[in-house]
Amino acid sequence: MKAFTTLTALVAPLDRANIDTDAIIPKQFLKSIRRAGFGPYLFDEWRYLDRGEPEMDCTNRPLNKDFVLNQAKYQGAQILLTRENFGCGSSREHAPWALEDYGFRAIIAPSFADIFFNNCFKNGILPIVLPAETVDQLFQEVVDGYQLTIDLQAQTITTPSGRNIAFIVDENRRFRLMNGLDDIALSLQHADKIKSYEVERAKRAPWLFKDA
C-alpha cells in the first residue's frame, strides 16, 4: 500500500450528497477478478453518455461535458470534495480501487459511510471528515480550480490563502497510512494471542471448533 504523508493537489468538487458505491463504480465492472484498472470507469454513468462495459476502451467514448471530472480546470485532481454520506451502499472495495486508480488520494466530506471509510485506509486513500459549514466554504472557494495541501502528520489542510483547517484521524489508522503498513502482517504479530484465544473459547463454545 502507498504511504500517505503530505499531498498538495488540485481539488475536484462533486456537489452531491449520498453518493453510493453503484455510482462510484457500477456493478458490471465488479466482474473483474483483478484489482487494478478501474480508474477509467470511475463514476461511469455520470462521466460518459453511453453505457460502459468491462474491458471497454474508454478513449473514444462520448463524454458528459457537464460532469465535473470532465472539465478542463479539474484535470489531474487528486483531492475529491463532496457531500455527506459519501460511499454509502455496498462493501465493494472496487469503489476505493477506482478512486485510487483514477488518481484520488484524499476525499473531503462532512461524513462517509462506515465500510467505505474503512476501505479507503486499506488502499492508501485518506478520507477527511470536516464540519458541513467548512465543506460548504470549500465548495465556494474551489470553483475556479485550486489546490489544497494536506499534511497527515500535522492533521491540517492548508488553503491557497494560507488558512489552516484541522482534522482528526484515528491514531492507529494514521500510523498505518503514514507508513503504508500491511494490516495482515501487523495482526499476525499477535498470532500467539489468537491461538490462546481459540483455546480459551473452545472451552466455552466447543461446537465452533469441531470442524477443523
Binding site: 449520498n18 456493478k27 455496498s90 462506515d114 476501505n119 494490516d183 465452533l208
Partner: protein
Amino acid sequence: MAGKTLYDKLWDDHVVHTEDDGSCLIYIDRQLLHEVTSPQAFDGLRLSGRQPWRIARNLAVADHNVPTTNRDKGIADPVSRLQVETLENNCKEYGITEFDMSDIRQGIVHVIGPEQGATLPGMTIVCGDSHTSTHGASAALAFGIGTSEVEHALATQCLVQKKAKNMLIKVNGKTGPGVTAKDIVLAIIGQIGTAGGNGYTIEFGGDAIWSLSMEGRMTVCNMAIEAGARAGLIAVDDTTIDYYQGRPYAPKGDDWNMAVRYWQNLRSDSYSGDLFDKIINIDAAGIKPQVSWGTSPEMVVAVDANVPDPTKEADPVKRQSIERALQYMGLQAGQKITDIKLDKVFIGSCTNSRIEDLRAAAAVIKGRKKAASVKQVLIVPGSGLIKQQAEAEGLDKIFTAADFEWRDPGCSMCLAMNADRLEAGEHCASTSNRNFEGRQGYGGRTHLVSPAMAAAAAIAGHFVNIAEEA
C-alpha cells in the same frame, strides 16, 4: 454490575487484543465468501505465501453472477463465468467448502448461511458483502467487509475493528393488516435516513420485532445497512432456537444443549434505555405498507401517500436530491403512489426470497394473472432448498399459472449482474433492498416493496393499497 447490551456481549466475547487507541483485534467465527469480492483476496494470500488460518470456518457460494435459467448450459457471459470459475478454483486450492451451481444447497450467500446453520447465534460473521447484516437476526455480530478485510480474515481469523455505539430501535405494539417486516424496516429507514445508523450497531426490539418469524427478522436486519449501520441485531428467543434445531451445521447432542444455554443469554440486559447511546421508539400501528419512490432507500412513503414535492423542502441539499430523484424516476411531484405503473416485478434477493416471502406472494395472487401491461414477473427463490420446498407446497404452480416466471436461485435482478435486468426507463416493483440509479439495470427505476405488495402490483399493473384489500 452495570448491564450490557447484546452488542456489548457479542463484542466482549470476541476481543483478542486491544490497542492503545481502543481499536481491537476481533475474532471471526465464520466467513462467507462469494465470487465478486473474493478473487483479489485469494490473490493477495497467494502473493504473500500465506495460508488460511482455519479453513473450515470459511464457506463459499457463487450467487451474484449465476444464471437463473438453463443452469445446465453454464454461464454465457465469459466475464461472469471467469469470476465464478475463479471462486471454484480458489476454493479447491485452499480446501474451502463451496456450494457450486449444481448443488441443491446453492443460493444467495445470506440465505444459505442461516439455512445451513453455518451462521449461528453468538458468532461473529463476516462476508465481503454489505448485507451480511442479515445474520444479525440470529443475535450474531455480522457485518460486511471489503476485499482487503476478506484477505485479512482468511489469513488471521481476525479483523481490526473499533467498537460502534449502541442504538436501540423499538417498534412497539402490533402492525396492521398488509404490513410486513419489509414495511417495518422501510418505514424505519424513511424515518432515520440512510445515514441515521452511521457509527452504530442497531438492535431492533419491541413487540412488533419480537413477534416476527426468523425470516421476517432477517428482512429487517438485512436492511440495517441501508440505514447506515454495519450491523443489526435481534435478541435470541424461542423462535431463534427452534429455527436452528436440526440444521446441518448446527451443534448436536450435548453441544446443542450447551449452545442453547449460551444463546439464551444473548439479549440486552435491559431494554428500558440506560444501556443505549440512542433510542428510537416507533409505533407499529402507525406503519402502513411502504413503497419507495426515489433513488435512495430513505425515499419511501406509505402506499396511500403521494410522491413528495421538492418545492416544499426547505433544505437545499435535500431539495436538490428530491428533484434529481424525480427526474431519474420519471415521476411527478404530488403524483399518487398507486398511480405508478409497473413494467416489471422482481420477487427475490437476500431481503425477501425465503419461503415465507414466496408464500406471502402466492397468497396474494391465487387464481389471478399478471396484468397484461406488466412485461415480466420474476420469482427467484433464495436457495435451491427453498425452491424445492416451494415446489413441494405447489407455490411454483400458482406462480406459473399467473404467468410469473419461476427461476433458479441467485441474486438475479437485485443487482443485475447476470442476464436478469431492467431496460432504461422501466419501473419495477422489487422486493430487494436498493433503489440506487442503475442498480437493476442501466436507467432502470426501482420501487422497493414487500413481497405481498410486489405480487399485488403484478396483478393490478400498478401499486395497490394492500392494507385495504387485506
